[in-house]
């Protein structure tokens, strides 16, 4: 495994009490594989990725273990590996690049830091990198500033920065959410190609179940700071076991390739400062029983590679019976 997160917890002190944004999350991704992390906004996806990178504000209290290539990630190691062995791309291509520097300089900076290249060589390597992310006329574009690029082109520059030093792990936090559908497909196809070429492990955070179906090997479904279901992508779509996943899939158009957003499930995400005592999904769950309100269900394997956190698992049997 390139990345193994074990029982990660992240807490923020807020004005109105402690907020546990991530509560015992465990994830793993192998080289050359894509793990999709899905879940409604606020479920702790970004915080999980930022904790891995060591980019959370100093006020965050972090527990658990994050292991990269067999070695635990300490803050020092995170600082050394950021942008080198592990990289991240963000949701907002319009604001994620520095407006004061050219695209080439921004790619070259990563190479100067992690590869110790002199400025000239770093810039040439940056041009090559911009070519690799299919930016036409890369030598000229490298000398242009972010405002001269479209959203899709900026996200390509971001990918070039992230992949410049051939990272072992790429965290892509909703990399295409802000882009229109055609550009979105191009960017994801590009990520797939680059991943195949380099064997990078990818964590793809997304809202979009259509994206999951087309680009992920495995899926982790998060709800209220916890992983509620984990399975290979094909299996998750064929046989969802958690009521929350079932609800999410409810809105995906049956035709493949449809741009299915997460279903709107009745009710709202719980206040993370004061979550329900038992199963966090209980207030919204059509399958809830009294045990659900009292006790929190652990993530338990149903098969070798399929796990779910639900007292009524395996849900598929209940659904069939109905």
């Amino acid at each position: 495994m390139v990345l193994a997160i074990d029982d990660l917890t992240v807490e923020f002190a807020t004005d109105r009490g402690t907020l546990r944004a991530v509560d015992g999350v465990s994830l793993a991704v192998a080289s050359g594989k894509t793990l999709a992390v899905v879940g409604e906004s606020g479920s702790g996806k970004s915080v999980t990725a930022l904790a891995t990178m060591g980019l959370l504000p100093g006020s965050a209290r972090i527990g658990g273990r994050i292991v990269l290539d067999g070695e635990p990630l300490t803050p020092e190691r995170q600082r050394a590996l950021r942008g080198g062995a592990m990289a991240m791309i963000f949701q907002e291509p319009m604001t994620s690049l520095n407006p004061a520097f050219t695209a080439g300089e921004q790619v070259a900076e990563a190479l100067r830091i992690h590869r110790n290249l002199p400025p000239r060589a770093a810039f040439d390597a940056a041009i090559a990198m911009l070519e690799r992310v299919r930016i036409p006329d890369a030598a000229r574009r490298a000398r242009q500033y972010p405002h001269q690029f479209s959203g899709g082109m900026r996200q390509r520059v971001m990918i070039a920065i992230a992949l410049a030093c051939a990272p072992r792990l790429l965290l892509a936090d909703e990399p295409t959410t802000a882009l229109d559908v055609t550009v979105q497909a191009q960017i994801l196809a590009l990520l797939d190609t680059l991943k195949r070429e380099t064997g990078t492990a990818v964590v793809l955070i997304t809202h979009d179940l259509g994206v999951v179906a087309d680009h992920a090997d495995d899926v982790a479904v998060m709800y209220a700071g916890r992983v509620v279901e984990r399975a290979p992508a094909a299996r998750l779509f064929a046989q969802p076991e958690h009521p929350y996943t079932v609800g999410l899939l409810g809105a995906v158009p049956k035709l493949a390739g449809g741009a299915g957003r997460l279903a709107s499930i009745a009710g709202t995400v719980p206040d993370m400062r004061n979550p329900p005592a038992g199963c966090r999904f209980a207030p919204r769950c059509p399958f809830a029983i009294s045990r659900c309100i009292a006790e929190q269900p652990p993530l338990i394997p149903i098969t070798a590679d399929h796990a779910t956190a639900c007292w009524r698992a395996p849900l598929s049997q209940i659904l069939e019976a109905a």
Partner: protein, 315 residues
């Protein structure tokens, strides 16, 4: 870029026309008859007064006087001082460098104090460093220049005898003596601007440090020091540069009072003397020159803004 410059210059021309009319008009409202003043002992003699008026063309209609004045200004002739009997342009060129030196030194002091203090208090937000820096900035902004000036003279000249309390030696005459005569007034002038720069730098840095591109830089592995001094500062300086240019103009204007305290023969002294002596050509010339400097500085501010902001450069 060239088109932008042309448009910018086209905008300046009406501004200058209005300015010059205003200066000329206000001049007419100043109390006291210059002919009377110039006549001196002979002020009782109507013949002498008439002769003076004719000589200075004060007997002509106002529009003619105005056109006359502005026509000469356009060819660099600011007129002739009635009092000092020297060309106004020469007086301006003599005194302007003094004030310019003072304002430049004050500006350097202000930038050297204000910008790093602003960066420091932004990166150490809500720590004692931040509070102390803000306190000092408030002190610098609110302290009256004349009071600080007098205190400094008392301490460094009277008490310690390190620096001359007044007077001026030019840079070409004796470099170090020149610095010694201007460092106190420059510091007095600079403190207020340092406070203003510090606060703006702090605000701009806080804004920049909260931007997504700062997170990108950190994700790239850029060291925190470089994140602050390169990635954030480069963007934070864009508004600060514009502000700094305007503040420089204010320093030139603010020098008037400080020059009085330290008896430095600069622009300030020139204009104060001219006003008291009703030396109209000098007053007009100095005010017009000041206005021109402000207009030029606003142009410089725009050019600098373009230079530091890539988004403007391609426009």
């Amino acid at each position: 870029m060239l088109r932008w410059l042309a448009r910018r210059f086209a905008q300046i021309i009406p501004t200058l026309i209005v300015l010059s009319v205003l200066i000329f008009g206000l001049q007419q409202l100043m109390p006291g008859d210059p002919a009377l003043i110039l006549a001196g002992e002979e002020r009782g003699d109507p013949m002498v007064l008439a002769q003076i008026r004719a000589e200075l063309r004060l007997d002509r209609p106002l529009p003619e006087q105005y056109l006359n004045w502005i026509g000469n200004v356009l060819v660099g002739d600011f007129g002739f001082s009635w009092r000092i009997r020297e060309p106004v342009a020469k007086l301006i060129l003599q005194k302007l460098p003094v004030t310019f030196q003072l304002a430049s030194m004050a500006f350097i002091i202000a930038v050297l104090i204000g910008v790093p203090a602003g960066i420091l208090s932004a990166t150490r937000r809500d720590t004692p460093t931040d509070w102390i820096a803000n306190g000092i900035a408030l002190f610098g902004i609110s302290m009256p220049n004349f009071w600080l000036g007098i205190m400094m003279i008392l301490l460094f000249s009277v008490e310690l005898g390190w620096l001359p309390p007044s007077g001026y030696v030019s840079l070409t005459e004796d470099f170090w003596e020149s610095i010694a005569t201007t460092i106190m007034p420059a510091f007095v002038l600079g403190t207020g601007v340092a406070g203003v720069l510090m606060r703006h730098t702090r605000a701009a840095m806080l804004g920049a440090l909260a931007q997504d591109y700062v997170r990108t830089a950190r994700a790239k592995g850029v060291a925190e020091r470089v994140v602050v001094w390169k990635h954030a500062l480069r963007n934070a300086l864009i508004p600060v540069v514009t502000l700094g240019t305007i503040e420089f103009g204010r320093l030139l204007a603010g020098a008037v009072l400080t020059e009085q305290i330290f008896t430095i023969p600069g622009f300030g002294k020139l204009i104060v003397d001219a006003v008291f002596n009703r030396d109209y050509p000098v007053v007009q010339g100095v005010v017009l020159a000041t206005a021109l400097i402000f207009v030029a500085l606003s142009l410089v501010a725009d050019l600098l803004y373009m230079a530091v902001n890539p988004r403007m450069r391609q426009a």
